[in-house]
Amino acid sequence: MSSIILEARDIRYRYPRGMEAVCGISFHIRKGEKIALVGPNGAGKSTLLMMLNGMIRPDSGMLLFDNEPIRYDTTSLRMLRKRVGFVLQNPDRQIIAPTVYQDVAFGPTNLGYHETDVKEAVALALRHVGLEGFERRPPHQLSGGEKKRVAIAGVLAMDPDVLVFDEPTGGLDPSGSEDIMELLDELNHEGKTVIISTHDVELAYPWADRAILLLAGTILREDVPEVAFGDPEFVRTAHLSLPTLLELYIELQKRGFPLPEKKPLTVLDMMHIIEPLFQTTCSQAGPGTITVCNVDKDNREALSAWLLARPKLPVGAMGTRAKQRASSEHIPLDFTYGVIDKCILKALLGDDTLILTTESMVERVYMRVDAYSKESGIHITVNLVAPTTGRATDESGRQP
């Protein structure tokens, strides 16, 4: 288990002339975790998040970053804010500068980077969020999702260890929300600790490693999502709603169906639970294969030849660069969110699929499919589009 990066010990905070927003909260967050702070409006989520980078100082109690108590002198705060990046809910409130480049460069410039380093950091951050070529655009001409990405890039440019998002999908359309959540996954996969606040249970449930349920400034429950959201009574007390999948699971359980102990996090898990109940697996012809294409390798021709040989193949893209590549090569995408699970679902139906993804995420496809194969006993083959030959080569040795 990785080491603790953030810890709160009985912190309290009362707004001037107001009510107590945080009343004695203790928790810890480990490096590389995905944490969702879930609670109704006014539960103290935002206040708590603002404490994590020292924007608000608790009245009492102690906050520790990297096992050191947070100190509130200017120098320490600067170091803290460099390492804990904060993305506000309203990007208009976060974007300061008149152009995208200047805004993303704001952090690195103030950290005293050299001009060439600033440029490099900005280019990298914009590439990360998929906004290359937007450098000279003024923020007010961007869409809501693009503004959000600029705000995220502005924080990424400082290369923080922990990323804190207040309502990351607030005000975005469903596809925009999915894109942002995927970006958060990508960042987490690169080793960053990601903390979000939300009241969208459906969003937090499959995404988070751990969920912290807040109500009226106290922690109601803190556990893995299946447990944290597992008790309808608790969820009702917290003014939230039960995730649909969990509700379905509970309803099935009430009707006396024999269900596995592990509660479903995704539609795939749910299918795994339901299919034995009906004792029919739809994949009579045996499961389909999943092919992975690493877009960071130069395999443009191989890919198009490969795709040409398989018209109407469902294609999914994971990660910003993969989506950009798909749009630049006019590959229509069938899945853009929860791609691996959706491809496994397809494979179970006997269909083949292709996943476009970035270097760092290839391994994740193998891991997820392997895990599923082990759990369900259904073996699904994962191939890689070879960079040169244009033929899909079977990565043997990965079969469980």
Binding site: A105, F106, P138, H140
Partner: protein, 262 residues
């Protein structure tokens, strides 16, 4: 709204990628030449050439461009009428003395000077429009920094520029909310609505200021505003076009001398 429209056009126009210095040289040079000229001809030529380049090169919609001229043209017409009636001259065409202390006359000289002023307005306006429609504010900031404007003024200008659009959005929203609830149905109601909107926007901008400081602090603000990106390189064609335009305009100014309308 109008200001946003102008800035939006500037961001997307056909001459967006041309070096900012060349565009500013063209616009400012044209204004100076319009003022130096003692004949009506050079300002007219400048107005024609710049209007042509705004419409054809920058591909600005002709209707939008014409819209920009409505207010200044009316203003110019009234001023010119005043100049023609009040300034005297040798060769009088018409005279009227309504009072002992007021004499109105139309003379050859007054018509000439009135027409010169009108042409200067047209030339100057087209030069202003050329800058406003082809050079976004963000590019002008870069030039201002190179010109040695103090950082503090520029940083403020940039924050103000950014904030204008945020506050304008709020004005639009509040205004829409008021219109929906018939806030502008009567004069009395309009005054009341406008006042309450102003108040609300003032408070909102105060809040926005607080948020701005917080947002800057969260990103380690240390008194430095990001360095500006570089301008576009000077290319051969635009450089040649600017030089030819300014040289020809100078020539017209010199050779047209004192040519007058009548």
């Amino acid at each position: 709204m109008f200001e946003e429209l102008l800035e939006d056009i500037a961001q997307k126009n056909g001459l967006r990628e041309v070096n900012t210095y060349l565009k500013l040289a063209t616009g400012l040079g044209a204004i100076i030449l319009c003022l130096l000229s003692t004949s009506y001809l050079p300002p007219l030529v400048i107005a024609l050439v710049l209007t042509g380049s705004i419409l054809l090169l920058a591909r600005v919609d002709a209707k939008t461009y014409a819209g920009l001229f409505i207010v200044p043209v009316w203003f110019a017409l009234f001023s010119v009428a005043g100049i023609i009636l009040i300034s005297g001259g040798q060769e009088v065409f018409w005279r009227w003395n309504p009072f002992s202390w007021l004499s109105l006359s139309i003379t050859r000289e007054s018509i000439n000077s009135g027409f010169l002023v009108f042409c200067r307005v047209m030339g100057g306006m087209s030069a202003m429009c050329f800058i406003a429609l082809t050079t976004p504010m963000t590019d002008i900031f870069i030039v201002l920094r190179r010109c040695g404007i103090p950082d503090i003024i520029l940083d403020l200008a940039m924050i103000i520029y950014r904030t204008i659009f945020i506050i304008m959005d709020q004005v639009k929203q509040i205004h829409a909310a008021q219109v929906m609830r018939l806030g502008y149905s009567t004069v009395r109601e309009s005054i009341y609505s406008f006042a309450s909107m102003s108040g609300a926007v003032f408070i909102a901008s105060w809040d926005a200021g607080d948020d701005l400081i917080r947002a800057m602090d969260a990103r380690c603000y240390d008194g430095k505003f990001a360095l500006l990106g570089e301008t576009r390189p000077v290319e051969y064609m635009p450089l040649a076009a600017t030089t030819v335009f300014l040289a020809l305009s100078c020539a017209v100014v010199i050779f047209s001398g004192d040519i007058t309308l009548i």
